[in-house]
């Protein structure tokens, strides 16, 4: 963990008070490493996006802390925080909502450059924008004067990635970056993220509910349910040999053309799902190593 660029150390976050609190993060710990992608998978409401928001400091942890290059962020001053924001960037789910419809693409990419690299003159900024657009495989001359509505979903997501790259970040948090794109466009975006990771040595957190794409981009994977990471480790090991009942449930539900729907008694199956869900939502404080670099939090008996 020590060489992680960014780490969450036992972070908890609870929403609501009284009888019915929502545990959005429960003792969550993980580290992001240069040149590696960590996937965070789980169903809606499992706490994936909360993890992203904790990293982006939109939420402050109730317990635990964020470590940036080994230093706790809690006491960071304004200057350190600005440096943190330049180092940690986010790509959002909805490429239609993430760009301002009243501004050109040039403006979107120029703004982070002005804020974080104030020494650049106009000519250098233009050159930097051109380089960014080329990096995400878009034609600078064609795209710069355009407005978001003139772009396809895939092009917009490339702009979001270019905007994140504008500040030379070390960490990118991508929250469902392909879920709103067509199948044929998805792969291009995933390949782009892979290229960026390899070329720029970025540490990537890839949040998704599409486990097949997680397998495509991520060396390591974490499965989250009810705010807890119930299973984590090497992607191939977790996916081929899932140990936690919730991981197995999730994997069995993933669309898979190799398995036709069976005629199993449906209500029995629903009961099984309910039981697993209820038990997985209980606190699971222990950690057990089930294989090399493959851990679970076993369910309480």
């Amino acid at each position: 963990m020590s060489d992680a660029i960014l780490a969450l150390d036992n972070v908890s976050k609870t929403f609501g008070r009284g009888d019915n609190p929502v545990y959005a993060a429960r003792s969550v710990s993980f580290g992001l490493h240069a040149g590696r992608t960590l996937a965070l998978v789980g169903e809606s409401g499992s706490g994936k996006t909360t993890a992203a928001r904790l990293i982006m400091r939109e939420y402050t942890p109730d317990e635990g802390q964020l470590l940036f290059r080994g230093t706790p962020l809690g006491k960071a001053n304004a200057k350190a925080l600005k440096a943190y924001r330049a180092s940690v960037q986010m790509v959002f789910q909805d490429p239609f909502a993430a760009l301002n419809p009243t501004h050109t693409i040039r403006y979107h990419l120029e703004r982070p450059l002005r804020l974080h690299q104030p020494k650049l003159n106009a000519k250098e900024r233009t050159a930097a924008i051109e380089e960014l657009l080329t990096r995400v495989k878009l034609d600078p001359a064609l795209l710069m004067p355009k407005y978001p509505h003139e772009l396809s979903g895939g092009q917009r997501q490339r702009i979001s990635i270019a905007r994140a790259l504008a500040v030379n970040p070390q960490v990118i948090v991508a929250d469902e970056p392909t879920s709103m794109l067509d199948v044929s466009v998805r792969l291009g975006i995933l390949n782009l993220l892979n290229d960026m990771k390899a070329q720029l040595g970025l540490a990537l957190l890839y949040i998704t509910h599409d486990i097949a794409t997680a397998r495509y981009v991520a060396e390591d994977i974490m499965v989250m349910y009810a705010g807890q990471i119930v299973e984590w480790g090497n992607t191939e090991s977790v996916l081929t040999n899932p140990q936690h009942p919730y991981t197995r449930l999730l994997l069995s539900a993933v669309p898979d053309p190799d398995r036709r729907f069976s005629d199993t008694r449906f209500s029995e199956e629903l009961n099984r799902i309910e039981i697993i869900r209820r038990q997985s939502a209980l606190p699971q404080p222990e950690t057990r190593e089930v294989a090399k670099n493959h851990f679970i939090r076993p369910m309480p008996e």
Partner: protein, 272 residues
């Protein structure tokens, strides 16, 4: 072979534009047999939803179905129905679950009232009979009849699409059209819903026209699949053939762009 539930021949649909018309559906023909689960796949803008809307005559200007197109449901010419006939045709013959089915319930009416609306509009039925029927229908989709007095916001995201489906089945339609009914849902809930539909169509014998861009899911549930590209139906075959031995280059490219969950990974850079 028995007569198809749905028979589409030479369907051409244009979106009329100020300068130029957009030819959204180009000479599409296919049949759906009784009890069959038929999948229609393709990317955004390929015309798949346009076809779904046309089958229940829900398309609106500027969409225009061209002369020579034919849509038969149970042998009846849908394009020739007048307003009265259309009213009894919808729900009774063909019912449709819209995209983001979660949001197609009326937020200010109870679930019971929404069942009553449909049942009342199409048959002479008392409030009490409607309640009994609604309770039966909810049971079909594994929802407790206590829910009848709930409002949509009190039901979970997984329950709402199932309620919509139950309402769609109220009048025993021959054909259920589902236009990306589970896109906004996560995989566990999606699987619950589709598996339920699969069981129901075997029990009740209705056919399904299922629209999605998730090919993997489609192969799991469908008997036959049609692949659409820019308004044309480029390949129609049984689901396993579409998956294992796709014929059309576009179908092959679609598969090549989908990361796999297990086994050998697709090669990077399988560009379209």
């Amino acid at each position: 072979m028995t007569d198809p539930v749905l028979s589409i021949r030479n369907l051409n649909i244009d979106y009329i534009g100020a300068e130029k018309d957009f030819h959204a559906v180009k000479d599409v023909s296919f049949d759906i047999a009784p009890g069959e689960f038929f999948g229609l796949a393709g990317e955004s803008g390929c015309g798949k939803s346009t076809i779904a809307f046309a089958v229940s005559r829900l398309h609106r200007p500027p969409a225009l179905i061209r002369k020579g197109s034919q849509i038969l449901v149970g042998g009846r010419d849908v394009l020739a129905l007048d307003d009265n006939e259309l009213r009894s045709f919808r729900w009774r013959e063909v019912a449709m679950v819209f995209q983001s089915a979660m949001n197609s319930l009326n937020p200010v009416l109870t679930i019971e009232t929404q069942f009553y609306d449909v049942l009342r509009a199409h048959s002479r039925i008392s409030r009490a009979e409607a309640r009994t029927r609604a309770a039966e229908l909810l049971k079909l989709v594994d929802i407790s009849p206590d829910r009848l007095s709930s409002y949509p916001h009190q039901c979970s995201g997984g329950m709402r699409p199932r309620i919509v489906i139950a309402i769609c089945l109220a009048l025993n339609p021959k054909l259920l059209i589902m236009d990306e009914p589970t896109t906004a849902l996560d995989v566990v809930v999606q699987r619950e819903i589709l598996q339920r539909i699969d069981v129901l169509r075997k029990e009740l014998g209705f056919s399904v026209l299922f629209i999605t861009h998730d090919l993997g899911l489609m192969v799991q549930v469908s008997d036959r699949i049609g692949i659409m590209l820019e308004g044309e139906l480029v390949e129609v075959n049984d689901a396993q053939t579409i998956y294992r031995t796709p014929q059309h280059a576009y179908t092959k490219r679609l598969w090549a762009s989908m990361p796999k969950l297990h086994g050998e990974q697709i090669r990077e850079g399988a560009q379209s």
